[in-house]
Symmetry: C2
Subunit: 173 residues, 2 copies
């Protein structure tokens, strides 16, 4: 069966700093007209880093939820940057870890009903410790937390970020 939805017209509503919004006129598989709201996002990278049985997490205030969340280091792709470069840069900026070798884990679609963001998940395989060096508008702290404790934090709801849960569940058996 063919479920493809056909774009008739892309209507650009908002062009912002970290996202843009379109409201497209489309044709459904049954031939009926409909609209689809789409968030355009340049994509991001996230990186899992484990040392001596502990996982590197950053804690930061996330404005949409008005909460401080624990997450693995992550960020948006800068212009001209490859996803792997983004992962390595964010690990150094947010975590003070310089990766010598990383490994690709997964591509994640965080919420496919309305955003086109792809989060590329990496694992730091070889790395050295350096100093974190945050952007001037970034405010966060980092912590190395025992991996069994991190799994418990997922089970009891202290960790809710999707990319972090996926990285931990895939790496901590």
């Amino acid at each position: 069966m063919e479920f493809k939805e056909k774009t008739i017209k892309k209507n650009f509503i908002y062009n912002g700093k970290i996202l843009s919004l379109r409201k497209d006129d489309i044709i459904l598989p049954n031939g009926a007209p409909a609209v689809r709201e789409v968030i355009e996002h340049s994509g991001g990278s996230a990186i899992y880093c484990e040392k001596d049985g502990k996982i590197l997490l950053v804690k930061q205030f996330r404005y949409p939820y008005k909460e401080e969340l624990y997450e693995i280091p992550a960020g948006k792709l800068n212009d001209g940057e490859s996803p792997e470069e983004t992962a390595i840069r964010e690990l150094e900026e947010e975590g003070g870890i310089k990766a010598k070798r990383v490994e690709k884990l997964f591509d994640i679609y965080p919420t496919p009903a309305y955003t086109n963001e792809i989060i590329r998940l990496y694992k730091a395989v070889e790395f050295i410790e350096t100093e974190s060096c945050l952007d001037e508008d970034e405010f966060l702290s980092n912590e190395w937390i025992d991996k069994c404790q991190v799994k418990k934090m997922i089970e009891n709801g202290q960790i809710k970020d999707a990319k972090t849960i996926i990285a931990v569940l895939s790496q901590v058996k």
Copy 2:
């Protein structure tokens, strides 16, 4: 350390069908002004259902990616509906499964930089088979897939949806 960001003014940009967009004026923890783009979403529920070693997945076209994706049954909360009711309704509509008892797994924040969506993840514990009954603008097929095969589909990138990866990794050891 206190990382809270303070809202100065909420600016409503777009009020849509499945999402709304705000661009808020805020004050950063260091006192500097900034803006935050926020997608408002009413939240959704997703439900993991396993029978005889097979997992129920739905395959549907996701417009933002222009791809057909495998996902567990899921959907947006209707007005006045509890998250558990949404999970049960979507399982029946999309999967043809009537749940008698469900269990809460996790709350997931899919991409916390810019959306306030919460995805509530459930597991169907007792259920009977009935018939799927889709909304008239929904086009999807459902399949029961062996759980080892589903894990392989995550590893090889055939399954990319975050809620589905989290449900499977947390339930299939």
